[in-house]
């Protein structure tokens, strides 16, 4: 069975690029751009990994990460945070909230793919 990834991101062209890259690696990719419905979407999609932006409409990525870690059925889900907010304080806040990997935009495609593969394998 193919591994799957959920992308929570509000920039459609970034979603397209990520989707192409990950599908090329044999992954099933689903995406959602509104933070408000993100948790329901994750629960329904049962992914092996979530790629999460911080600045999202309605609900921030940080709140979504906290919600993921507080819900038993998805609390162990690997989360890769992919954000333009790359300041030390953002990274520290994400680490405190339980992020699995923190990457900043703009990102290197190859580095992103390697990180995703490693996180899904573990």
């Amino acid at each position: 069975m193919k591994k799957s990834v959920v992308i929570i991101e509000d920039e459609p062209f970034i979603i397209e690029a990520l989707t192409f890259l990950l599908e090329n690696e044999g992954l099933v990719v689903r995406s959602i751009s509104d933070g408000a419905n993100a948790i329901d979407f994750i629960i329904k999609s049962k992914p092996n990994l979530v790629i999460l932006d911080i600045m999202l409409p309605n609900v921030s990525g940080m709140k979504i990460l906290e919600d993921i870690r507080s819900m038993d059925e998805i609390s162990n889900l690997p989360v890769l945070m992919l954000t333009a907010k790359g300041q030390k304080k953002d990274r520290r806040a994400a680490e405190e909230a339980g992020v699995s990997k923190f990457m900043t935009k703009p990102f290197d495609n190859q580095e992103l793919i390697e990180n995703v593969k490693a996180m899904i394998k573990s």
Binding site: E11, F13, A17, F20, A84, P106, F107, N109
Partner: protein
């Protein structure tokens, strides 16, 4: 030591104006031999003679007397410390200020201006860090760049992309490149120096500039020799500044209409220029009196008043500073000033004598007032003013011995009270 140099300062100022001792003595109504004694620091002077000599030399009496000189010397010391790489003769600052008062004032003023620019630079940097527009623009920029970089890498690194997908990515690239270009232009416009948004609020408002040029007293407006419209038309303002300046001028006219200069001055002298007592006499609020007192003609028989008006956050709304009491425009002032305390006691005037670290003293009245009625669930908006004067000896009816004394400073960097619990920045002269 400084007091002893009063005569030296008179002599240097007189020589600079190419006046003979005889000329100056005649103007001052004293004998040339007595002036000679004064100039050689063998006789002290004060009061009327000092005022007359100062007027004849076109300087403030305080520039000849101790207070101003201490302040000037302090500013010169600050200038020297800030430029440690230049080996200045700091042990001869007093002598320098006495012998070359004009150059001393020039150095002090230029040093002050540099300090103000430094302060503005810090504020600009701070604004940039916390500017929501800039943060949003940078986020957009990074998003645009992310899409372009990632998409371009896909196109460059995958030779077997289906034509339809490839076309789609190329379209995305074109669209995102256009967005990037627009975002960059927006950012450039935002920082364009002619843009009013960033620049004008750092400098004096046109109204403040007008007041400063006229020593804070618009005589022609008071005596109706000039109208608001005539003043406005001479200023060449943007529409936004025009509206703001018009409102400020209207408020000024309202103030002089309610408290016309001649009758106000007569009463003010009788009440020792005491804002609290004058407010009772004129049956008006202390705020109006404070503003009137800060906008009187510049005359040796009228005490000089400065004023600072701030909101509850301490942000300066209006200020008239005096040479001996400079007011930071963007916070950074001494938190012990009674104007800040008054914000927690609206409508209760606070009288205090401020003792400055260098020995200058200022009589102050601070008064906070709500700007509108409080609403349920909302704090009442409050503003405060502090009226201050170094000429407290010209307020004979106010008992200075019974006025609470407050040891304060101007701001931490120039305050020598090292143990002050309110200190938040190091004293620049500490290493000396």
């Amino acid at each position: 030591m400084v007091g002893a140099l009063l005569g030296t300062r008179i002599r240097e100022n007189r020589k600079a104006l190419k006046l003979t001792q005889k000329d100056l003595a005649k103007i001052a109504g004293i004998s040339a031999s007595y002036l000679n004694l004064i100039e050689h620091n063998r006789r002290g002077i004060a009061g009327k003679t000092l005022n007359t000599i100062a007027r004849a030399l076109s300087v403030e009496p305080s520039e000849l007397s101790d207070g101003m000189n201490q302040s000037l010397i302090n500013r010169l010391k600050s200038a020297a410390i800030r430029n440690k790489q230049i080996n200045t003769e700091t042990n001869r600052i007093e002598e320098f200020a006495a012998r070359f008062p004009g150059f001393a004032r020039l150095i002090a003023r230029q040093s002050d201006q540099i300090n103000i620019r430094d302060e503005e630079f810090t504020i600009l940097s701070d604004q940039l860090k916390h500017d929501p527009y800039f943060a949003e623009a940078m986020h957009l920029l990074l998003s645009n760049i992310t899409t372009i970089r990632s998409t371009a890498d896909i196109l460059a690194g995958n030779s077997n992309i289906p034509t339809k997908t490839s076309k789609r990515f190329i379209d995305n690239l074109a669209e995102e490149a256009l967005k990037l270009s627009n975002t960059a232009e927006d950012i450039f416009d935002y920082f364009e120096p002619t843009s009013e948004k960033q620049v004008t609020n750092l400098d004096l408002s046109p109204f403040e500039l007008l007041l400063e040029k006229n020593s804070y007293y618009l005589k022609d407006l008071e005596y109706k020799k000039q109208t608001i419209d005539e003043i406005l038309s001479s200023l060449n303002l943007s529409s936004e500044d025009h509206a703001k300046t018009k409102n400020s001028l209207k408020a000024y006219v309202e103030m002089v209409k309610n408290l016309p200069i001649n009758s106000f001055l007569d009463v003010a002298v009788k009440h020792s220029y005491d804002a609290i007592s004058l407010a009772k006499h004129f049956n008006t609020d202390i705020l109006s009196i404070c503003f009137r007192l800060a906008h009187l003609p510049k005359r040796s028989d009228i005490p000089k008043f400065g004023i600072i008006q701030c909101d509850a956050s301490g942000s300066v709304l209006y200020r008239k500073q005096l040479n001996s009491f400079s007011l930071p425009r963007y916070g950074g002032a001494c938190p012990l000033w009674p104007v800040y305390r008054s914000l927690s006691q609206p409508l209760q005037p606070i009288r205090a004598m401020l003792d400055m670290p260098m020995g200058d003293r200022f009589h102050t009245i601070s008064f906070a007032y709500p700007t509108e009625a409080a609403q349920i669930g909302m704090p009442a908006l409050t503003e405060a003013v502090m009226l201050f004067t170094p000429d407290y000896l010209m307020l004979p009816k106010i008992s200075h011995t019974q006025t609470p004394q407050l040891a304060v400073g101007l701001q931490c960097t120039v305050c020598s009270r090292l143990e002050c619990p309110a200190r938040r920045a190091p004293y620049l002269l500490e290493s000396k």
